[in-house]
C-alpha cells in the first residue's frame, strides 16, 4: 500500500517532526516503498501463532523498594539549555 501526502503529514504531526514542503515528495516515495515492502507480511499465514514481543521468554525481575538515587540535579542539568528555579523551561503549556 502506498502512502499519500496527507498520511505523511499526519505521521509527521503524530511524531512531532517538521517535514519541509520540498522534502515531502521524497518522504512519500520512500515511505511508500517501505510500506509496500513490508506488505509481503500480509500473505503469511499466522493463524494460531502467538505474537512474539521479546526474544527473552523469562518474566520481569523485580527491584526491592528502596531509595538508591539521590539529588544530582546540578550535574544533570548541565545538559539542559533553559533552566529557571531548577525547572526545565518550555513554551507555555496550555491545558
Amino acid at each position: 500500500m502506498s502512502l499519500n501526502k496527507e498520511q505523511i503529514k499526519y505521521l509527521a504531526v503524530l511524531s512531532r517532526m517538521d517535514i519541509k514542503e520540498d522534502e515531502i515528495q521524497d518522504v512519500v516515495e520512500k515511505l511508500s516503498s517501505i510500506v509496500e515492502f513490508v506488505d509481503q507480511l500480509q500473505a503469511v499465514t499466522t493463524d494460531g501463532t502467538e505474537p512474539m514481543a521479546h526474544p527473552l521468554a523469562q518474566g520481569q525481575r523485580l527491584r526491592i523498594d528502596e531509595i538508591t538515587e539521590y539529588n544530582e540535579r546540578d550535574k544533570i542539568q548541565l545538559n539542559a539549555k533553559n533552566i529557571n528555579k531548577g525547572m526545565y523551561l518550555v513554551p507555555k503549556v496550555i491545558d
Binding site: 525481575r61 527491584r63 540535579r73 528555579k85 491545558d95
Partner: protein, 479 residues
C-alpha cells in the same frame, strides 16, 4: 436534576502508591521537595537509561485486587502509551493496556436512598505518574518539575454504573477508604495522591444505548467531584434539550468558576500507539505469592462493618461511618473495650462529639490530645452515674483542651451528679414554691410545662441533677 434523564457515570481513580522509591527507578517519591531534585536519570528519560520494576508496587496492586475480589492476572504486561507532553519526559508513559494486573472486582456503596448497590470495577492497572508544569513567575514560559514523574499509580477503572454525583462520591470515598485500609496509598487529595477523572453521559430513560460522554479531568476533592458532575450533567441536558448534541471531549473542572471547559491540549485526535514495552518483560505472578499476600491482608471495611453490627449491636449506618476509616474503627474498638457504657452510646460519642472535635480542629486521630483511654474514662463516669450525659459534654470539651482526666475535671469543677432522691426532692420543692402559677397551670392540664420545671431544677443544680430522677420526682410531686 431533571427526571427525564438517566445519568451514567464511570470513574477512573488514580491512587499514588505509597512506595518509598519510584515504580521504575530508585529515586524517592516524597512530596514537596525542590523541583527536579528527586528526578533521577531514569525518571528524566535520559538516553541509555532503562526501567526496572519496583516489587512493592506489584504487591500493593495485588493487595488492592484481592480486597475488591478481583482476579490477579498470572501474566500482566506493561505497554507504552505514546504522546508528547512536556511533563512526560520519555514521550511515552509506561502503563498497562491489554493485560492489566487486576481484572474485574466490585465495590458496595450506599445509593441515594441508603440501599446497597454494587459498582463493578473493570480493571486496575499500574502506571507511572507524569511530572508537573508550573506556569507562574516564569516570564510567560512553563517550568517542568519532574519530581513526581515515575511515582507509581494504580488506575482503578469502574464500570459506568453510577447514576448520580452522590453515588460517584460514595464510590470514590469507598475506594479511598480501601486504599488507606490496605496502606497502599496515603490518599492525600491535596497533594494529588488520590484523584479522579469522571466519564459522564446522559440518556433518556427509554433510550437503550449510552449517550455521548465527556471526560472530566482534575477532580481532586470529594466536593469538586460532586459539583463538577452535577454541573456537567446540567450542561449536557441543556445542550440536548436545545436540540444539540454533546461533543465527545475532555473537559477540565474549574473550581473557582464552578464550571467545566474543554481542555485545549487534548483537542487534537490522539493516537496513543500502545505497544508492549520492549524494555520490560511480562510480570509473572505465582499463586503462592498471591496467597501469601492474601494471608497478610487486614480486615476490610465491609467485613469490619458486619462484625461491628454483630458484636456491638450497632446501627448499620453507624457501623458504616465507624469503619470507613481504619483509624476511627480502631479508636472506637479501643474505647469500647474499656468503657462500660452501652456499645451504641460509645459509638454515638465517637461519631458525634469526638469526630466533630477532630473536624473542628482539623486533626488526625493520632494528633489529638484526647486518647481512647481518656474518652473511655469519661464514658465510665456516665456509666456509673457520676455525671450526666450533658455534663459529660462539658467535661469532654475540657479534656479535649488537655485540662486533665475526666475524674480530675469533675472533681475540680464539682460536677458530680446529684442522684440522691432527697436532695433532688428538696430542690423540686423549692422550684415548685417559686413558681406557683406554673404549678397551677400544669395541674390545670398544661402538661408541656414539665420541661420548664426540669429546666429550673437543672438550673438550680447547674445541670448536675440526674435528669431521669428529676423527671420521675417532678411527675410524682406534680400530681
Amino acid at each position: 436534576m431533571n427526571s427525564n434523564w438517566e445519568i451514567v457515570i464511570g470513574l477512573e481513580i488514580h491512587a499514588q502508591l505509597a512506595t518509598s522509591s519510584k515504580i521504575f527507578s530508585g529515586a524517592s517519591t516524597a512530596f514537596g521537595e525542590e523541583p527536579n531534585t528527586q528526578a533521577c536519570l531514569v525518571d528524566l528519560g535520559y538516553p541509555g537509561t532503562l526501567p526496572v520494576l519496583n516489587q512493592q508496587a506489584i504487591e500493593m496492586a495485588i493487595r488492592f485486587g484481592l480486597a475488591i475480589d478481583a482476579e490477579i492476572s498470572p501474566r500482566s504486561v506493561f505497554a507504552r502509551k505514546n504522546y508528547f507532553y512536556p511533563d512526560l519526559p520519555k514521550g511515552y508513559q509506561i502503563s498497562q493496556l491489554d493485560l492489566p494486573i487486576v481484572v474485574g472486582g466490585n465495590m458496595n456503596i450506599l445509593d441515594g436512598n441508603g440501599n446497597e448497590k454494587i459498582i463493578g470495577i473493570t480493571r486496575a492497572h499500574l502506571e507511572e505518574d507524569a511530572g508537573k508544569s508550573v506556569h507562574e513567575g516564569l516570564d510567560g514560559l512553563s517550568g517542568i518539575d519532574l519530581n513526581r514523574a515515575g511515582t507509581p499509580l494504580l488506575e482503578i477503572v469502574s464500570e459506568p454504573e453510577m447514576s448520580s454525583a452522590k453515588e460517584a462520591v460514595a464510590y470514590m470515598r469507598k475506594i479511598h477508604s480501601i486504599v488507606r485500609y490496605l496502606e497502599i496509598s496515603d490518599g492525600n487529595m491535596q497533594e494529588g495522591s488520590f484523584r479522579c477523572d469522571a466519564n459522564v453521559s446522559i440518556k433518556r430513560f427509554d433510550q437503550k444505548e449510552l449517550g455521548i460522554r465527556t471526560e472530566l479531568k482534575n477532580l481532586n476533592s470529594f466536593k469538586f467531584i460532586e459539583k463538577a458532575i452535577n454541573h456537567e450533567v446540567m450542561r449536557q441536558i441543556e445542550i440536548i434539550e436545545d436540540g444539540g448534541t454533546v461533543t465527545q471531549e475532555t473537559r477540565l473542572y474549574d473550581a473557582d468558576l464552578d464550571e467545566t471547559r474543554p481542555m485545549r491540549s487534548k483537542e487534537e485526535a490522539n493516537d496513543y500507539r500502545y505497544f508492549p514495552d520492549p524494555d520490560l518483560l511480562p510480570v509473572i505472578i505465582e499463586e503462592d505469592y498471591i496467597n501469601e499476600i492474601k494471608a497478610s491482608l487486614p480486615e476490610l471495611p465491609s467485613v469490619k462493618k458486619e462484625r461491628f453490627i454483630d458484636s456491638y449491636n450497632l446501627k448499620s449506618t453507624d457501623a458504616e461511618v465507624l469503619t470507613a476509616s481504619k483509624q476511627l474503627a480502631d479508636f472506637y474498638e479501643a474505647v469500647e473495650k474499656i468503657a462500660n457504657t452501652e456499645s451504641q452510646i460509645t459509638a454515638n460519642w465517637v461519631i458525634g462529639d469526638y469526630t466533630a472535635a477532630l473536624n473542628r480542629d482539623d486533626l488526625e486521630i493520632k494528633d489529638a490530645k484526647l486518647s481512647a483511654d481518656d474518652l473511655a474514662g469519661l464514658l465510665n463516669k456516665i456509666a456509673d452515674q457520676t455525671i450526666s450525659g450533658k455534663i459529660a459534654k462539658e467535661v469532654f470539651e475540657s479534656m479535649w483542651r488537655g485540662d486533665g482526666s475526666a475524674e480530675e475535671i469533675i472533681e475540680k469543677k464539682g460536677l458530680v451528679q446529684i442522684t440522691d432522691d432527697n436532695e433532688i426532692e428538696n430542690i423540686v420543692n423549692q422550684v415548685m414554691e417559686k413558681n406557683p402559677s406554673q404549678v397551677k397551670d400544669y395541674l390545670g392540664g398544661k402538661g408541656q410545662l414539665l420541661g420548664y420545671f426540669v429546666g429550673q431544677v437543672m438550673k438550680e443544680t447547674k445541670g448536675k441533677a440526674n435528669p431521669k430522677k428529676v423527671n420521675d420526682i417532678l411527675k410524682k410531686k406534680l400530681k
